[in-house]
């Protein structure tokens, strides 16, 4: 178990270094992406300002709460785009070109290799303005965030990333049948974007679908609610439950999909 963990950690580190070398080899595109990502961050905050110039409260969330939500969402997005999305959006190519064969034949988990080959680093500079904005919002709050709330915040944040990975991987796995879905990025972006809105805007069946099935509440709302003092261990428990359910579901779906893999051109 420990040996296996060490092996996977070593491989991940090698892959991260490889991606970093590749990305920084093209400095100009890397620089332009950093600028683009910073502008997208500005866009997210400016949109919230425009919206709250017109309304005072949305589903019980005021402008400050919403700004905190968008900040946490931006942090989530940064983590997801560094570690998860680069792999999910190219997953269909493995099936389309038949190169999944090479993943299946290696003495390593095919799921791991399909999920952790690519990493992107141009989102990392966004962390500086995100931390600055978060600091400003926190200083405007009428409460002090305790150290255990910070711990639970980071835990729920990480659990949210895992839940999104499981959800995204399940969607990506459908390409075993569809063979080509290069619009997957648009779909995953759209599902992520739901999480920058207060979950309470949804009622009834749409709430079940867009808050829990598309697990938007776990991504940004839960960690934000911890910082706003709207929950602690109850939120952590729900996030843990979300991780267990999504992991079991995505692993079962992965095995089911593998049974339907009929290689191509290899």
């Amino acid at each position: 178990m420990v040996n296996s963990l060490l092996k996977y950690t070593r491989i991940t580190w090698i892959l991260i270094r490889n991606c970093f070398s590749k990305e920084t080899a093209y400095r100009a595109p890397f620089f332009f992406w950093v600028i683009a990502n910073l502008l997208w961050l500005w866009f997210a905050f400016y949109s919230i300002d425009l919206l709250f110039n017109q309304v005072e409260v949305i589903a019980g969330w005021n402008a400050l709460d919403a700004k905190m939500l968008v900040t946490v969402y931006s942090l989530f997005l940064t983590l997801v785009w560094v570690f998860i999305m680069p792999n999910l959006i190219v997953f269909w190519r493995l099936i389309n070109a038949g190169t999944m064969d090479f993943h299946l034949l290696k003495p390593i988990s095919a799921r791991f290799l399909s999920s952790a080959t690519y990493f992107e680093f141009d989102m990392i500079p966004r962390l500086i303005p995100i931390v600055l904005v978060m600091g400003t919002v926190i200083s405007s709050l009428s409460r002090v965030i305790s150290w255990d709330e910070w711990v639970i915040f980071w835990l729920t944040m990480m659990l949210g990333v895992i839940i999104f990975y499981n959800f995204g991987f399940m969607i990506a796995t459908t390409c075993f049948w569809f063979t080509k879905i290069d619009s997957l990025e648009d779909f995953l972006n759209a599902t992520q974007a739901i999480s920058k809105y207060p979950p309470d805007i949804f009622k009834g069946i749409p709430r079940v679908v867009f808050v829990y099935l598309v697990p938007s509440i776990f991504l940004a709302a839960f960690p934000t609610m911890v910082l706003l003092g709207r929950g602690k261990f109850d939120i952590l428990t729900l996030s843990l439950l979300g991780v267990v359910v999504s992991t079991v579901a995505s692993q079962k779906f992965w095995h089911f999909a593998l049974r339907h893999y009929s290689s191509a051109s290899s």
């Binding site: 997208w40 110039n53 949305i58 648009d186």
Partner: protein
């Protein structure tokens, strides 16, 4: 003309071959507007930025249809792909076809399916939400709306073609494309109507090309602009299309001189 018709048919066949692509693409567009509609539904009977609640919901539901057309008109990544792998040489440069019309034909198949599917999805979505669409539809409004949508589609096609042609100099165009998207979302009115901006900024934005892709047709449909504004809107759209076509011709000529077809 016949040869471009063949490009269109080829595009139709390709579109129906990858049905999963079509399904995910449709779902992505629907999911992207759902939270915005949910926000306005949750706020009850309010008005914001000069729009009533029903008008805002109409804005996003009909906007769903326009968004599908916009996304289906984007050709930049295809152009980037064929320029970077050199296949543009065999596909277009050595054939007696106009690159502009051939790529338009290739995009038109996907676009035609998108138009039909977009109209169907938008209608179904409106019925599911159950909130009445507020449109005082006359034949004139419908014609003005549809012609503005078509002009917007052409504007997106030419500008995205221009972006794609930057691949003659650098194949790393994705960050520029990303900024183009951001401008569409913010200055085109996809995220929020342009009336949500402060007055001074709104005045400046009224001439930006992205407005004529998304917001302008919706302003016509919702009766938010007067006849002189309608006329000036059409003129401005045509000016932007003219400038984009001129830019395309220039970039195409310069790009062809600079290009060394990789692997050919």
């Amino acid at each position: 003309m016949h040869k471009y018709w063949l490009y269109f048919r080829l595009s139709l066949i390709r579109t129906f071959t990858y049905r999963g692509q079509l399904l995910i693409f449709t779902l992505a567009t629907v999911v992207s507007v759902i939270p915005l509609i949910a926000v306005w539904l949750s706020l009850g009977n309010i008005s914001a930025g000069g729009y009533s609640q029903h008008e805002l919901i109409t804005y996003y539901i009909v906007g769903l249809f326009i968004q599908r057309i916009i996304y289906s008109s984007l050709i930049n990544y295809y152009v980037q792909e064929i320029v970077s792998d050199g296949s543009i040489v065999g596909l277009f440069l050595t054939k007696p076809v106009s690159f502009f019309w051939a790529t338009f034909g290739l995009q038109a198949g996907w676009l035609a399916v998108s138009l039909v599917l977009g109209a169907t999805v938008t209608t179904a979505f409106a019925l599911i939400i159950g909130t009445g669409i507020v449109v005082h539809l006359t034949l004139g409004t419908a014609l003005f709306f549809l012609s503005a949508v078509m002009l917007g589609m052409l504007l997106v096609f030419v500008t995205s073609l221009l972006l794609g042609l930057l691949s003659f100099w650098t194949v790393h165009i994705s960050s520029f494309v990303s900024l183009y998207w951001m401008a569409l979302f913010l200055f085109g009115g996809i995220t929020l109507p342009l009336t949500f901006f402060p007055d001074k900024i709104e005045k400046v934005l009224s001439f930006n090309p992205f407005r004529f892709v998304f917001s302008f047709p919706l302003e016509i449909l919702l009766g938010k602009i007067s006849s002189p504004e309608l006329l000036s809107g059409y003129i401005t759209t045509l000016v932007w299309i003219g400038l984009s076509v001129a830019g395309y011709k220039l970039i195409w000529r310069l790009g062809n001189k600079a290009y060394t077809g990789y692997g050919q």
